[in-house]
């Protein structure tokens, strides 16, 4: 009996009992669809987080004051010292590293922003002209902070989209004066609306030169320094250089923490990939359940078709061939069930993507392969026993329907 005939015969016997076939296929396809949809969700979450990080900037190294000690209490702590702050000169010094392309020092505070009678409490970001590039921001109208001496406290500011709308409405904002805390600032630009990224709404920000922010809040330290490495390969060098430079400038004390965006990203990536696989694994259990169902139904089918099996034996089919016929049935069922399940799963993913447009839902290829593989595998595996039972039937008893 050749391959095509085997498949055709199996197909015929599947079509001979449509209800049974449909139910088994349904179980199989629900299993596959579950794997596809759930891994698509997990992968979507992973891509969402990665995109969020990417919108922060690329090849970033972040320097923050203080050191997280995991190896006990540092000597400074015992003396009641607070970590030394990072100064603007420290930030400038980082540019000495050849691995660093540009830096953006950051100071954060809150102040009241007012224009005439309108008054609002806002988050003020003190930085330099390079922040625009480093943080991948976009300017809407006017200009961003001017380049030049980092210590110069020019009285200019850039408003977030929402701030501009609240203070100026439809009026022209660029060139106008606003009051921020106890100082007057001239608006030189408005940021393009960007929405939320990593919990910070750039639309609600006011950005001023870092020296002006220091005067405004009466500090001299930096909240953190964003360092952009030349390229992906030089991230580690940039991190190492930043640590060295800060170490030298802080008289041999390691009192800053340098983290790379990559390290954080890699951690998230690992966690979320593990999550996707776990969820996919749980969904795969439903495939195993579908496999058991197929076994159950096939055992019933063997009992129901005992006369047919007897006849096939009488007509000269050896046990091996009978087994192949049942395998072929299981394989066909699993294949068609997988295809239906894939369609169902991709359909479901598209519906989810439609409902949550911000979530990049797409089933990962490995999950799709694994789902189909598991479906085929369980289908055939669980047909082994029924097929053997059919193959071993005594032809005389089978023909008599016993």
């Amino acid at each position: 009996m050749n391959f095509t005939d085997t498949l055709q015969f199996a197909f015929g016997s599947l079509r001979g009992s449509p209800t049974r076939t449909l139910l088994m296929m349904l179980a199989m396809s629900i299993g596959v669809a579950a794997v596809v949809v759930l891994t698509a969700l997990g992968e979507g979450a992973r891509l969402y987080v990665i995109n969020q990080f990417a919108s922060l900037g690329t090849n970033l190294v972040i320097v923050l004051p203080g050191r997280t000690e995991t190896a006990g209490i540092g000597p400074g702590m015992l003396l009641g010292q607070i970590p030394r702050e990072i100064s603007l000169d420290d930030a400038e010094a980082l540019l000495r590293s050849r691995a660093v392309r540009r830096i953006a020092p950051l100071t954060v505070g809150s102040a009241s922003l007012s224009r005439g009678a309108l008054n609002r409490e806002v988050v003020v970001l003190g930085s330099t002209s390079d922040l625009l590039e480093v943080r991948h921001m976009n300017i809407g109208i006017g200009k961003f902070l001017p380049a030049g001496d980092i210590h110069e406290s020019a009285s200019v500011c850039v408003l977030g989209e929402q701030m501009k709308n609240e203070l100026f409405g439809n009026e022209q904002a660029v060139g106008q004066w606003v009051r921020l805390g106890d100082r007057r600032f001239r608006v030189i630009g408005v940021l393009a609306s960007q929405g939320e990224s990593m919990g910070m709404r750039t639309d609600e920000l006011v950005i001023v030169p870092v020296a002006s922010a220091h005067q405004l809040f009466n500090t001299s330290g930096l909240f953190r320094i964003l360092v952009e490495a030349k390229n992906r390969e030089s991230i580690e060098d940039a991190k190492h250089d930043a640590e060295q430079i800060m170490f030298q400038r802080h008289s041999g004390e390691k009192d800053v923490t340098v983290i790379t965006q990559d390290a954080v990203l890699a951690t998230f990536d690992r966690i979320l990939t593990a999550l996707t696989m776990a969820v996919g694994g749980i969904a795969a259990i439903s495939l195993a359940v579908a496999g058991v169902l197929i076994m159950n139904v096939m055992l019933i089918a063997v009992a129901q078709r005992v006369k047919e099996i007897g006849l096939l034996k009488a007509l000269g089919a050896p046990g091996k061939q009978i087994r192949m016929l049942f395998f072929a049935e299981a394989a066909l069922l699993s294949t068609v069930g997988s295809i239906a399940g894939l369609a169902l799963g991709y359909g479901g993913s598209m519906v989810i993507a439609h409902i949550y447009p911000s979530l990049p839902v797409s089933p990962p290829w490995w999950a799709v392969l694994a789902a189909c593989g598991t479906a085929l595998g369980t289908g055939i595996l669980f047909s082994v026993w029924p097929a053997r039972r059919a193959a071993r039937l005594d032809p005389v008893a089978a023909l008599a329907g016993r």
Binding site: M1, G12, L311, A314, G316, G319, Q321, V396, L399
Partner: protein, 226 residues
């Protein structure tokens, strides 16, 4: 040519040994027409199953066309059944989801014969047996006589040397039964050994050689001249 030498077949029922066939010695020549008669439980069906290699003797030897087929493996026995033996059953045993033509085609599919040749042979056979108009009907759309003719076509499509019929007219009315028997008897001209098992003395009497069985033994083995 078939030869059984000292064949016994015992079944174990509960803790008892029941002998269905006791020491059977039988020789059937090519183109013989043999009827096996006897009451139910006399062992005639067991004998037929042994002849058809559906069952194995508990002891003794079975020679088919001078080859010993007693201890062949499952696969080898299946091959012998495929190539040398045709079965006709009382209840037809047609596959209900297949058409008449597909049922006839089935043994050739199992034998791996190419599709074109299968179609050609089925067509010729359906024509010969007066089933051409019914080729695309399913068994439940056929009359009893037609069903048995489809079954005979299926049994002979591989040109077997032995045709084993177990009560071939049991489910048919008298008239159709005679027609089916005539069809079977016509096959002997092609050199087929025909073995018909029946408990109907009238049908058994049509055969030239008549074997009567009782309690697993051959009671009489007579040649009748027509």
């Amino acid at each position: 040519m078939i030869e059984l030498q000292n064949v016994c077949r015992t079944f174990t029922v509960g803790d008892q040994q029941v002998a269905a066939l006791r020491d059977i010695n039988l020789r059937l020549d090519t183109s013989e027409y043999v009827s096996i008669m006897g009451p139910s439980g006399s062992g005639k069906s067991t004998l037929l199953n042994l002849l058809g290699l559906l069952d194995r003797p508990s002891s003794g030897t079975y020679l088919l066309d001078d080859g010993n087929v007693t201890d062949l493996s499952d696969e080898q026995q299946a091959q012998v059944r495929r190539e040398k033996i045709g079965f006709v059953f009382q209840s037809f045993h047609l596959v209900p989801r297949l058409t008449a033509a597909q049922n006839v085609e089935l043994p050739m599919i199992l034998a791996g014969i190419p599709a074109e040749e299968r179609k050609a042979r089925v067509q010729v056979l359906m024509q010969n047996y007066g089933l051409a108009a019914r080729a695309d009907h399913r068994p439940d759309q056929l009359s009893g006589g037609q069903r048995q003719r489809v079954a005979i076509a299926r049994a002979t499509v591989m040109n077997p040397s032995v045709l084993l019929a177990d009560e071939p007219t049991g489910n048919l009315d008298r008239h159709t039964g005679w027609e089916v028997l005539q069809l079977l008897e016509g096959l002997m001209e092609r050199g087929i050994t025909l073995v018909v098992v029946t408990h109907d003395a009238e049908i058994g009497a049509r055969a030239r050689r008549q074997i009567h069985m009782l309690d697993g033994r051959i009671l009489s083995d007579e040649q009748h001249e027509k």
